[in-house]
């Protein structure tokens, strides 16, 4: 399952690491945009196979944030 950015944003906090087990609804990353902290949540349970962002990165709309298997 690919988790993608819904909007242009700064990556404020990364809360998971590759190989970590996550549950549906867990917050993976917190983005910062439009003066708001916007959580990016897992839309299913699994293991974080890839994590494509680091704190301080800028993501564009549609950019890959993580892959969960």
């Amino acid at each position: 399952m690919e988790i993608r950015a819904e909007m242009v944003a700064n990556v404020w906090k990364v809360l998971v690491s590759e190989g970590q087990q996550v549950q549906d609804g867990d917050t993976l990353v917190i983005l910062e945009s439009m003066k708001m902290e916007i959580p990016v949540v897992a839309e299913g349970s699994g293991v974080v196979r890839e994590l494509k962002v680091a704190e301080g990165d800028v993501v564009q709309d549609g950019d890959l944030i993580a892959v969960i298997e």
Partner: protein, 463 residues
């Protein structure tokens, strides 16, 4: 009709019987092979007209005679001022009849449009609904999709032969497509039984101008529904449910989730709630959420349903994608919808309302009946810190990096006092009253009760 119309679960008699209150169905068209059946009955006591396509004959294809059955059902519903429910399972116009069936389908569309905004129209898609049978539901107020429901203009076979694209019915027009991506479907049901239950609930909420017996308002403290930190995102659903007597029916829950549109009851009366959801896209307005909300506002206005607008919005979503998608044109629909609406419409600003999105979310200037705000709410062109970064750019550049953050905060506090604070908004008259979260339900209900019960005179074009 097929040989065993009473036992085939696809039979229109069986489906209409399931929809209505037990024993209340009275057929208003003959049982024959025209492919459509219409009846009148009650739904939780509300007199309602319904029609169903007959999936047991030619896959429910619509012929000229069957289309006349639907048109007559519409005439009857308009005459009685009753809601109308369509049960769809149809491949579209009957091929064999040629242009005669197309003419019939066109007459159905015209009947639906004549009734638009006058009586609530609800569609339940129980099986494939293609071509004319796709646009039929699309012209109505609310579309409900059952698990076997599929909606598309052209089926997989035609798509394959014309473009070579290989897709199945579900990918072309299933629940995932229309519930999440296209916005064609308002409600996706887990079972046929749930689809019928949704239709019954909506008839009750939208019928009879949403009037019910009075239920005393019990105030609850809603403050806990939003976080203390101003930048923290949260799910607005608990707040919406807290305002309503009971959870209500959320339309389009997965499409444009950054705005929530829910029909429910407050003090026993139907209301439509529109709420920014900061959990998604920070609660920003964008092209799809503006269109979704605009259509909901116009539907509620047409049926005399008061609006409760819960505002916590950082702005319109900026960027290339939005501009190219027509955020100016599509966002304007929400401005138009609110400014045009005559039903009581109450705004509650919980945390912040910035910029153009402040105006769009049923502001005083657009004609809000009453604008309420929670203590500490911010109404401004933009956030105070962002504003002073522009207004005091030079001053901030001069002080150097070490002192800049503290100066920013100092200037922001000062700026808030003179331009953005809620006291200023009250003094200007753009906010009528600062209410405590613990008194909010009463304040909203009183404002609705004090306004005249009127309804907009316009159709509900599927924006």
């Amino acid at each position: 009709m097929s040989n065993e119309p009473q036992t085939d679960p696809r039979s229109p008699v069986v489906r209409l019987t399931t929809l209505f209150d037990p024993g209340s169905l009275e057929l208003i068209s003959p049982i024959d092979d025209c492919g459509m059946l219409a009846g009148i009955g009650t739904i939780s006591g509300t007199r309602t007209v319904a029609f169903a396509s007959d999936a047991t004959i030619q896959g429910g294809a619509m012929g000229s005679v069957g289309c006349s059955v639907v048109v007559r059902a519409y005439d009857r519903a308009l005459l009685e001022g009753a809601p109308i429910v369509g049960l769809w399972h149809s491949g579209g116009a009957r091929l064999r009849e040629g242009v005669e069936s197309l003419d019939g389908v066109g007459r159905v569309f015209a009947a639906m449009t004549r009734a638009s905004g006058k009586i609530p129209q609800i569609s339940v898609v129980l099986g494939p609904a293609a071509g004319g049978a796709a646009y039929g539901p699309a012209l109505t107020d609310v579309v409900i999709m059952a698990p076997a429901g599929r909606i598309f203009v052209t089926g997989p076979d035609v798509v394959r032969s014309v473009t070579g694209e290989d897709v199945d019915m579900e990918r072309l027009g299933g629940a995932e497509v229309h519930g999440r991506r296209s916005g064609v479907v308002h409600l996706v049901a887990d079972s046929d039984a749930q689809a019928f239950e949704y239709a019954r609930e909506l008839v009750t909420l939208l019928g009879n101008h949403g009037k019910f017996g009075d239920v005393p308002i019990v105030d609850v403290d809603l403050a806990g529904c939003i976080p203390d930190a101003a930048k923290r995102a949260y799910d607005v659903h608990p707040l919406v449910e807290g305002i309503l007597d009971s959870p209500g029916v959320e339309l389009h829950p997965k499409w444009a989730p950054n705005i929530v549109t829910t029909l429910g009851r407050l003090g026993g009366r139907t209301v439509g709630v529109i709420a920014n959801n900061p959990l998604r896209l920070g609660g920003c307005l964008d092209t799809t959420s503006a269109e979704k909300a605009a259509r909901f506002v116009r539907m509620c206005d047409a049926f005399g349903i008061p609006l409760v607008v819960v505002v916590d919005v950082p702005g319109y979503l900026p960027g290339l994608g939005q501009e190219w998608d027509g955020v100016v044109r599509r966002g304007a629909k929400l401005l138009h919808a609110f400014a045009e609406a005559v039903v009581p419409r109450i705004t509650l600003i919980t945390r912040k309302a910035y910029g153009g999105a402040y105006i769009a979310m049923n502001s005083r200037a657009l004609g809000a009946t009453r604008v309420l705000a929670w203590p500490g709410a911010e109404v401004a062109v933009m956030g105070a810190v962002a504003a002073v970064r522009i207004l005091h750019r030079r001053k901030l550049a001069e002080v150097g990096e070490a002192l800049r953050p503290s100066l920013e905060l100092e200037l922001a506090a000062e700026h808030e006092k003179i331009s953005g604070g809620i006291e200023k908004a009250v003094a200007l008259g753009v906010v009528d009253e600062v209410v405590e979260p613990s008194r909010t339900r009463t304040a909203i209900a009183e404002a609705i009760a004090a306004a005249p019960a009127v309804r907009g005179e316009h159709g509900n074009i599927p924006l």
